[in-house]
């Protein structure tokens, strides 16, 4: 059996940041397990720029962003195994993995960081009716074909979903000579970042149809047509609004799902709202010594936030290994109040906080001119004015540790309130 202080599952941005931070905090024996043929995760296929504005104060491409971490990992001499799939792990921190190069291995660790990322929601999950020809791709899969393998997946494209990958792929396919006929979004607002709508659609005259959806895919062997319909307030297609597009390709950008099959099999408690593990201030899951960070916990918009969250996980994993984490009986719960879809972390042990508590959350719908109110059982802690809020943009709140000290706080609630005129 191999033995490491820390094993990180996943060598994407989350895993890399966690491993490097753990090393910086005194953990010497670290192993990163990556299933793909190189480190960097999905960043490697995100060849557009716009990464790193927060962390590096400059604009990098995905591979450039990844490279900085990979270089540091190499400088630190942190072990990593590529093309290696973790088969399972358990609450005793024993895991099995398999690869061509290393064979079937059993590894024990003092702590584990889960950084498996997420996967795309598929056509099956959203039940688009019609035939089942080739030419229907998840946007990320098409991105891999294009940017990693070097192949274009189609020439006339309709994209369902205005999540960031869909928007990025609208531009990318256009630049490679494909015609993107339309981006179709079920909701009355886009799920992607505003800057991507401007830079990827508007700049290329690609129409965005809000409150529309795909109601049929046609074609026997390859996609031949799609039918797009307007939807009502209940997101049901309105008869008579059908538009038929002749196209050979459909890209789906209809949401991401944290990939937690390993976590669930190991018995990690999940939050149905995030589809990720319930974590505490240390990014520790319900299994002691098993930490999680990045998109496996909740889907982020920006890799910078993944990096920051993962550094926290790496730092706390180091503390755990060094037995510096304290348990406390009265775990403070974070509560998603009116208008808030979820909050991460779900639990907080105030004593373990360094100086501050960072809460990450998403709102359920688009808001303008509202207040974000943070309350504890002591009363209102903080009120923040918000000009515009949307589910596609993650919200971030920082609370000072001293504001939360004392043993009387049981919960921290965040809610959206209309501004009183």
């Amino acid at each position: 059996m191999e033995s490491y202080e820390l094993v990180v599952i996943g060598g994407g941005p989350a895993g890399l940041a966690a491993a490097i931070e753990a090393k910086d905090n005194g953990v010497d024996s670290i192993l990163v397990l990556e299933r793909d043929q190189e480190l960097g995760g999905i960043l490697q296929q995100c060849i557009h720029n716009g990464f790193g504005l927060h962390v590096f104060k400059e604009e990098l491409t995905g591979p450039e962003y990844a490279e900085r971490f990979i270089n540091q990992l190499n400088d630190y001499g942190i072990d990593y195994w590529l093309n290696t799939m973790v088969v399972d792990f358990n609450a005793e921190h024993v895991l099995h993995c398999v690869s061509k190069e290393y064979g079937f291995k059993t590894i024990e660790a003092k702590a584990i960081v889960l950084a498996m990322g997420c996967r795309e929601r598929t056509r099956g999950a959203i039940n688009i009716p019609g035939t089942r020809p080739s030419g229907v791709f998840n946007a990320g899969t098409a991105q891999r074909y294009l940017n990693i393998e070097g192949y274009l997946v189609g020439k006339k494209v309709v994209i369902l979903g205005s999540g960031d990958i869909g928007l990025i792929m609208a531009r990318r396919m256009t630049l490679e000579g494909a015609k993107v006929l339309a981006v179709v979004e079920l909701m009355p607002f886009s799920g992607g970042l505003n800057r991507n709508i401007v830079q990827c659609l508007n700049d290329y005259d690609i129409p965005l149809y809000l409150s529309h959806t795909l109601t049929e895919i046609r074609g026997k062997e390859r996609v031949e047509q799609v039918v797009v319909s307007k939807v009502d307030d209940n997101r049901q297609p309105i008869a008579g609004t059908e538009i038929v597009y002749n196209c050979d390709t459909v890209l789906l950008s209809v949401g991401l799902i944290p990939e937690n099959e390993l976590s669930e099999e190991a018995g990690v408690t999940m939050d149905p709202r995030t589809s990720g593990p319930i974590v505490n201030e240390a990014m520790e899951t319900s299994i002691e010594g098993v930490f999680a960070c990045g998109n496996v916990v909740h889907v982020h918009d920006l890799v910078d936030f993944v990096t920051e969250e993962s550094r926290r996980a790496g730092r706390f994993a180091a503390k755990y290994i060094q037995k510096q984490l304290v348990d406390q009986e009265n775990m403070v719960k974070t509560v998603a109040g009116e208008g808030i879809a979820y909050i991460v972390p779900q639990n907080v042990r105030i004593r373990n906080l360094d100086k501050q508590l960072e809460l990450f959350m998403r709102v359920k719908q688009v808001y303008s001119q509202v207040e974000m109110v943070i309350k504890t059982n002591r009363g209102i802690l903080k009120t923040m004015k918000k000009r515009h809020m949307a589910p596609g943009e993650m919200e971030h709140i920082v609370l000072a540790k001293e504001e939360l000290e004392g043993n009387d706080i049981q919960e921290i609630l965040v809610e959206i309130q209309e501004v009183q005129a």
């Binding site: 299933r35 996967r119 598929t122 056509r123 039940n127 080739s134 393998e149 050979d248 669930e264």
Partner: protein, 484 residues
């Protein structure tokens, strides 16, 4: 191309019927050619159905459906063992909600007794809940038939094809029959890929069986395909149900079923709608919603948020309401296996034996092939192995260390093997049918590019020529940064 070579038998159609018939005939000294218009065996009705081996109580006593279902059911254990195909005798329940249903169930039970179906019983609410904790509280009574089972029909057909080839059967795919000419003692079969000759033809052409039959002047039946749509649920839902759960048929319809699959998913469906075109396997929002509504009567715990795919298949329903199995009255040596809708899968092993009997009658006795081997080389299913076995596999062949499909835990070694078997996969769907990459919750999102790459490499084709299913179902259009 084997143009003009005289065959003893041409089997038209490589679904469950055709592959079964060919494999049974392969026990004898016969030249057998199976042709199919699709790019793979088991690509139409055999690919999309309920995958159930029925106990046999519900077909009309005296019908061919009833006769062959009852004989076919007990034959599955042996053939699936010989061919290493997943089969589970999990039992079925026909559930009833009221007195009307109870009467129907009673009738089915009595019909079953008459048909000598073993291990049937009528059970009450408490017992039903013990067997199926997630079933609706409104269920009062059920017909429990222990001999019903589930199988993977396309894996069975592929295995039958492989075993047939092992024993001398030839397969010719992407070959569409466009005409048949009767000569004095044989048939000329005209196809898009040339002409073939055979003394006997076995028509296993599924929804197209009537058209093939008409080519020899036999207009005794016609096929009116009925479409059935399904939901396939994630393996996470796989432990919710333990048996095939039918609803009691009423005047309003047969209801829909819920069943575990042999791979641990849950299947919900089908509905039944006549379709005009024989290749209409599109799904429709309204039909799917209706299935959902009807299925929810059986259980309100079906997690429809864990659906990973919806699909539709066609039933080859004949206008006479029964199978059409036997030598044509107007064409000697032309044997129909027509109208092969449910319980066709359950009946297939018995039908294949019966076709052998007919052939014996026609040719005045068949000579057994001494070299016949009923077994095929087993499949390694890495995901199902225990840790020690996995370890051993990887030691023996490092390609078992490369997991290509993370959802179903399929290794590169398994994919390479399924491409190089004698009825090897040539398409992404072919690989998916044989070893399951793309069958899981990500639906190929991660593994498809890798499967495409392996197919291209192993078949020595450019990536652009690798298709999802058949030559026109291309996946990529062109390389973007071609070196000039």
């Amino acid at each position: 191309m084997e143009t003009k070579k005289m065959n003893d038998v041409i089997v038209i159609g490589a679904g469950i019927a055709g592959t079964f018939v060919a494999r049974e005939l392969a026990r004898y000294e016969l030249d057998i050619l199976v042709i199919d218009q699709e790019s793979d065996v088991a690509n139409a009705t055999t690919m999309a159905n309920s995958a159930i081996v029925h106990a046999g109580y519900d077909a009309k006593p005296g019908s061919q459906k009833s006769f062959f279902n009852i004989k076919g059911n007990p034959m599955f254990d042996q053939v699936c063992e010989e061919l290493d195909v997943p089969f589970k005798r999990i039992g079925s329940l026909v559930i009833g909600f009221d007195e009307e249903d109870r009467k129907t169930i009673d009738k089915m039970y009595k019909a079953g007794l008459k048909n000598h179906i073993p291990e049937m019983s009528i059970i009450e609410a408490n017992h039903i809940k013990e067997l199926e904790p997630n079933i609706s509280d409104k269920v009062r009574v059920a017909l429990f038939a222990k001999t019903a089972g589930i199988v993977s029909p396309f894996e069975l057909a592929i295995a039958l094809a492989e075993n047939g080839i092992e024993n001398g059967v030839k397969y010719q795919l992407e070959t569409k029959v466009i005409g048949i000419e009767k000569q004095d003692s044989y048939y000329d079969v005209h196809t898009n890929r040339g002409d073939y000759q055979a003394r006997n033809i076995i028509n296993c052409a599924g929804v197209f069986a009537d058209q093939i039959s008409q080519m020899v002047g036999d207009t005794s039946y016609s096929i009116h395909p009925r479409k059935g749509e399904y939901y396939l649920l994630d393996k996470k839902a796989g432990k919710l149900f333990n048996h095939v759960i039918f609803q009691t048929p009423t005047d309003h319809g047969k209801g829909v079923l819920i069943t575990p699959t042999v791979h641990g998913n849950v299947l919900v469906g089908p509905d039944s709608n006549f379709v005009g075109e024989k290749d209409d396997v599109s799904t429709e929002a309204m039909s799917l919603q209706e299935i959902r509504n009807v299925a929810s009567r059986s259980s309100d715990k079906i997690p429809f948020n864990q659906v990973i795919r919806t699909f539709a298949g066609l039933r080859a329903s004949s206008d006479i309401g029964d199978f059409v199995i036997g030598e044509s009255k107007v064409a000697k040596g032309f044997i129909n296996v027509g109208g092969f809708e449910s319980p066709g899968l359950s009946a297939a092993p018995a039908v294949a034996k019966y076709v052998v009997e007919i052939m014996e009658g026609i040719s005045g006795g068949l000579k057994e092939k001494v070299t016949f081997n009923p077994r095929r080389r087993p499949m390694v299913r890495f995901a199902e192995l225990n840790l020690e076995e996995k370890q051993k596999c990887v030691e023996d062949d490092p390609n078992y260390g490369n997991i290509i499909c993370r959802c179903e835990q399929v290794t590169e070694a398994e994919i390479i093997d399924c491409i190089h078997r004698n009825m090897g996969a040539t398409t992404v769907k072919g690989v998916k049918k044989r070893t399951r990459p793309g069958m899981g919750r990500c639906q190929g999102g991660f593994c498809e590019p890798k499967v495409v790459e392996i197919l291209a490499r192993e078949l020595n084709r450019p990536i652009e020529d690798v298709s999802y299913n058949g030559s026109k179902a291309y996946i990529v259009t062109e390389e973007t940064k071609k070196q000039i």
